[in-house]
């Protein structure tokens, strides 16, 4: 090499050291042993393993746990599990010869009464692979199950599966509250498979069935079985029993719930507007709650639906019908719908005005039929002057113009919004129900954002906004449950409580896992006289000659209440706008034991539509109060 260096030159000789030789020999030995073992298994013992694989497969079969039962507070079951059979399809085992598959599915369709097209759709929609059984129908009738069993030899891809069915004992009564169960979805399965869910598990889909899933579900067991080539179980080798779900005792009192439901239903056909003309509400909700504990005795939502439909496999048209019905039966309106609160919101305004010193309990304003501010005229509901009054009188008479004058003192600041948050508006509660909506408490920031989002320059919060908000109109939206807890807070002297539908959870071995204890979200941060004055206003509503709660007068119990009639944009006749009719109440005034909220969407006047129902509910409570308190 001319330059005096070069690369490596010749290929170096392969001369392994002793250690490398040992390593190589060791490796060779290991691979040889593996090779012999493979030959032994795959050649010498081939027939042995082949038989095991084809004829005597050992399989783990999941045993689904029995779902927990929900009881009313008085110990009556609201739902039961009934033994039942369903039909499942394993696509990989369907007869694969052309035409045969259609014949097989056609036969199945005729036996179980599910349209052929729906079968095909369900099978192609499954993302679980060809070997996962797809449950196409649950709750087969005895005759269907027997027929299917008879024809199984001709239907290689069809399985008869045992699947306990959920039967709700009081259909429609509690449907939006209890919800229903249904097959697990692919995404839910992916999320939950580590917790023992299987592709064909059922899971709570709405209401308490979904909210209490972790208690109601239980733990699955399994059995190890020997199956033959056709998948038939030959021998059970090992069983680990599933653990059933927990029993959940609700706070719902069954008799009270039935009464409230029936009264609310009655009100649907007896709604009147301000002029006394009949109107047809689209939906309604009622809540009865213990204002000292947050326990809900009754929660009704209309229109309702028959939740048992979901258990036997609801058809697509039935489901579409439920979805398109104007009153949205699948929504629990008590927690899942937002309504303008109307005059029931005036206690918020009063609390804020008193606490921040805009007025005192003895401040007196006139109550004219209208007042003019900034060139705009704002009307009272009454066309006559109701005279001079205090804040308590103004709540009782629901005088809008009094509250306008209070709002005028507040100007464009928003103490009402702050107080609304304190009372729990604009936020969801800790109740065990999914599908809650937060409602809306508007303030300066929110309105500014709204303008911007709609492409306008942000406008300030006007005095007019405060005026509207003061009487529960404008942008404010609330849920009936929020109102129930707000009324409870006024009733119990200023404590916002957590609402609950669950009083006790008991495990299958009889251990009490949870007993509800009242939980305070917060004390409303105002001096005691403020709450007392607001309470007095609700009392006046019932007893004062100018009060709107006159239907509760001359009762054996003393109640306190408030009407509300909230207009919302839709004009159903010239000059007539749809209204939500509210009545809220608690009783007895001195030591409240029960708080009631009734609301009819599109129900006209609160005084005509909602108040009579609230009165019936309170009357029922009075007649049965001893039984109710005896259960606690």
């Amino acid at each position: 090499m001319v330059n005096g260096f070069h690369y490596g030159g010749e290929q170096p000789k392969f001369k392994p050291s002793a250690r490398v030789a040992v390593f190589l020999l060791f490796g060779l030995a290991a691979f040889t042993i593996m090779g012999f073992k493979l030959a032994d298994m795959q050649i010498a013992k081939y027939h042995y393993y082949k038989t095991l694989a084809l004829g005597l497969g050992i399989r783990k079969v999941e045993l689904a746990p029995l779902r927990g039962i929900m009881y009313s507070i008085d110990g009556k079951p609201l739902v039961e599990n009934i033994p039942s059979f369903g039909a499942a399809v394993v696509p990989a085992y369907l007869d694969q010869t052309p035409g045969a598959q259609a014949r097989e599915l056609g036969m199945l369709s005729r036996i179980i009464g599910v349209p052929y097209s729906e079968l095909e759709k369900e099978i192609s929609a499954s993302k679980l692979g060809p070997y996962a059984p797809i449950t196409v129908r649950e709750g087969l009738t005895q005759a269907q199950a027997e027929t299917l069993n008879e024809f199984l030899p001709d239907l290689p891809g069809v399985k008869l599966v045992e699947s306990p069915l959920r039967r709700y004992l009081y259909p429609e009564l509690l449907a939006p509250v209890l919800g229903y169960v249904g097959p697990i979805s692919y995404s839910e399965y992916q999320r939950l498979k580590s917790k023992g869910y299987e592709p064909n598990s059922v899971i709570g889909q709405a209401g308490l069935e979904a909210g209490l899933e972790q208690y109601l579900r239980g733990y699955p067991g399994y059995e190890t079985v020997e199956v033959n080539a056709a998948g038939k179980i030959i021998k059970v080798l090992n069983v680990k029993k599933p653990t059933p779900g927990d029993s959940v005792y609700l706070t719902i009192n069954l008799a009270f719930q039935q009464a409230v439901y029936n009264y609310l239903l009655y009100g649907m056909s007896h709604a009147l507007n301000f002029s006394g003309q009949p109107v047809t509400p689209t939906a309604a909700a009622a809540i009865v709650v213990n204002p000292n504990t947050g326990e809900i005795y009754a929660m009704a939502s209309l229109p309702s639906y028959n939740e048992n439909l979901f258990e036997t496999g609801i058809t697509e048209s039935e489901y579409a019908h439920l979805l398109s019905e104007p009153g949205s039966p699948l929504v629990n309106h008590a927690v899942g719908s937002e309504y303008p609160p109307g005059s029931t919101f005036k206690m918020v305004t009063a609390t804020a005005a008193l606490a921040d010193g805009y007025i005192s309990p003895s401040t007196i304003f006139d109550c004219p039929p209208e007042i003019t501010l900034d060139g705009y005229t704002f009307h009272n509901w009454a066309t006559w002057n109701m005279g001079y009054m205090t804040i308590a009188d103004a709540i009782a008479a629901s005088c809008d113009t009094f509250f306008y004058q209070v709002a005028e003192r507040m100007g464009t600041s928003v103490p009402i919004a702050e107080m609304a948050y304190e009372y729990g508006f604009g936020q969801t509660s800790a109740i065990q129900l999914p599908g809650q909506v937060p409602g809306m408490v508007p303030d300066q920031d929110w309105t500014a954002k709204q303008w911007e989002e709609h492409g306008y320059a942000p406008q300030p919060w006007y005095l007019g906004n405060t005026l509207q908000m003061a009487i529960g109109q404008g942008y404010t939206l609330v849920t009936p449950l929020q109102v129930a807890m707000y009324v409870s807070a006024i009733a119990n002297g200023g404590y916002l409580l957590k609402p609950t539908l669950v009083s006790k959870i008991v495990s299958p071995d009889g251990k009490t896992l949870l007993t509800w204890k009242p939980q305070i979200v917060r004390k409303i941060p105002v001096p005691q006289y403020v709450i007392d004055t607001v309470r007095e206003g609700m009392y006046e509503d019932v007893v004062s000659p100018i009060g709107t709660g006159s239907q509760l007068r001359a009762k054996p119990y003393t109640a306190a209440g408030k009407t509300g009639t909230a207009q919302y944009g839709i004009e159903y006749a010239p000059g007539h706008y749809q209204e939500d009719a509210w009545y809220v109440a608690f009783a007895p005034y001195n030591h409240p034991q029960v708080a009631v909220v009734v609301v009819y969407q599109g129900g006209g006047e609160g005084f005509f539509t909602a108040e009579p129902i609230a009165v019936k509910i309170l009357d029922w409570w009075w007649a049965h109060r001893l039984q109710i308190s005896g259960q606690q």
């Binding site: 330059n3 005096g4 260096f5 070069h6 690369y7 490596g8 030159g9 290929q11 170096p12 392969f14 001369k15 392994p16 050291s17 250690r19 490398v20 390593f23 190589l24 490796g27 060779l28 290991a30 691979f31 042993i33 593996m34 090779g35 073992k37 493979l38 030959a39 298994m41 795959q42 050649i43 013992k45 081939y46 042995y48 393993y49 082949k50 095991l52 694989a53 084809l54 497969g57 050992i58 399989r59 783990k60 990989a92 679980l128 692979g129 060809p130 070997y131 996962a132 580590s194 190890t224 080798l237 090992n238």
Partner: protein, 374 residues
């Protein structure tokens, strides 16, 4: 002299970038065959094979990028950065304990920008780099006690952090890689003997610290009939699948994994699926492929003059050897159940790209193996 200096510079540069002529195509060919067989098997390994197949294909592309990237990278850079790389790995493993995702009680995954990866898989390669660097730096003193003790101290934190994931199987794999590298790297006989004795002596202690499921697996291995339907279920099903494959295999008919009989059929027990699909002919060929791959790595290591490069090759060869023997051994029932993936077969991105990267590092050593001789 000017021309000579230029030539020298070119020559040095050429050594740095390596010589394409030295690239070992055998390794690449075996790698391509293995990954293709692995992907086909994965596709039919479980009801979710379709989804996992697509994901694994993407990781294979990433793997090939890493393979060629590491081939082009001068492996001696790894020697310079061995310590920082090692420290980063420790931090990542610790990070898993703090921010990691749990799966079945073990926290082994860490999530970065939406991708989860398993640092304990990558730690295998890190260990090899760190240990190779250490042994190369003390190549003339490896027989001394101080070297031996220092080496053990250096790798102990990595074992410990992997062990507390908890990932006992990978920790054990790290121990075996270390043992292999110390053996091939020139530790003295009595040191190795002491290690073996120490290992045997610590078995009762280890049993005490084993998690319930690990102890169960070990007992099942020692007494397979003790619980054929509980913990022994997997092994029973794997053996049925393998035996059912016969001489030529069942082909693409429903595998035990797709039927849902064999759990973990896409990961630890994928060999059983392969053996069922391709029979003894396929399984034997697979053993030959792995054996040939390991042989090519050992052969190159013997020819390499640079101690660091040589130790890297020994380490990588040991890693593949241990993984293959432990995994296949477990599938055919001659090794206890341990969560060691089968290279290029088991579903899992972290292990796959680590295996690709390891072969890339090996090629990087091979293309630069010819020393400059003056």
């Amino acid at each position: 002299m000017g021309a000579q200096a230029t030539n020298l510079r070119t020559a040095v540069k050429r050594v740095r970038v390596g010589r394409a002529r030295e690239f070992d195509p055998h390794i690449l060919v075996v790698l391509v065959i293995l990954i293709m067989l692995g992907l086909i098997t994965l596709r039919y390994s479980s009801p979710f094979g379709d989804y996992e197949f697509k994901k694994q294909v993407l990781f294979s592309f990433l793997g090939f990028a890493l393979f060629f990237g590491f081939t082009f990278l001068d492996y001696r850079e790894l020697n310079h950065y061995a310590l920082p790389i090692y420290l980063v790995a420790l931090v990542a493993l610790l990070g898993v304990r703090i921010v990691g995702h749990s799966s079945l009680g073990a926290t082994r995954w860490i999530s970065i920008a939406g991708f989860t990866f398993q640092p304990s898989e990558v730690s295998k390669l890190i260990l090899i780099i760190a240990l190779a660097s250490f042994i190369a730096s003390r190549s003339d003193k490896m027989h001394k006690l101080s070297s031996y003790v220092l080496a053990l101290f250096a790798v102990a934190p990595l074992f410990f952090f992997v062990y507390i994931q908890p990932d006992l199987s990978t920790a054990l794999l790290l121990v075996l890689i270390t043992a292999g590298m110390l053996f091939l790297g020139g530790a003295s006989k009595w040191q190795l003997g002491l290690t073996v004795l120490g290992g045997l002596a610590s078995i009762p202690l280890a049993l005490h610290f084993l998690h319930g499921y690990q102890r169960e697996r070990l007992i099942v291995f020692l007494h397979p009939s003790s619980d054929p339907l509980g913990a022994g279920y997997n092994i029973t099903q794997a053996k049925i699948a393998i035996g059912d494959g016969g001489l030529f295999g069942d082909g693409f008919r429903a595998t035990q994994g797709m039927l849902g009989y064999l759990p973990s059929s896409d990961t630890d027990f994928i060999f059983a699926i392969f053996a069922q699909m391709f029979g003894f002919v396929g399984a034997g060929l697979l053993l030959i492929l792995y054996g040939y791959l390991i042989w090519r790595l050992i052969r190159a290591a013997v020819l390499v003059r640079d101690k660091f490069g040589q130790m890297l090759l020994y380490g990588i060869a040991t890693m593949f050897f241990v993984e293959v023997v432990v995994n296949i051994g477990m599938n055919i029932g001659i090794m206890p159940v341990a969560g060691i993936p089968l290279p290029f077969f088991s579903y899992g991105g972290s292990a796959l790209v680590t295996d690709f990267a390891a072969l890339g590092v090996a090629e990087s050593v091979i293309v630069r193996k010819k020393p400059l001789v003056f």
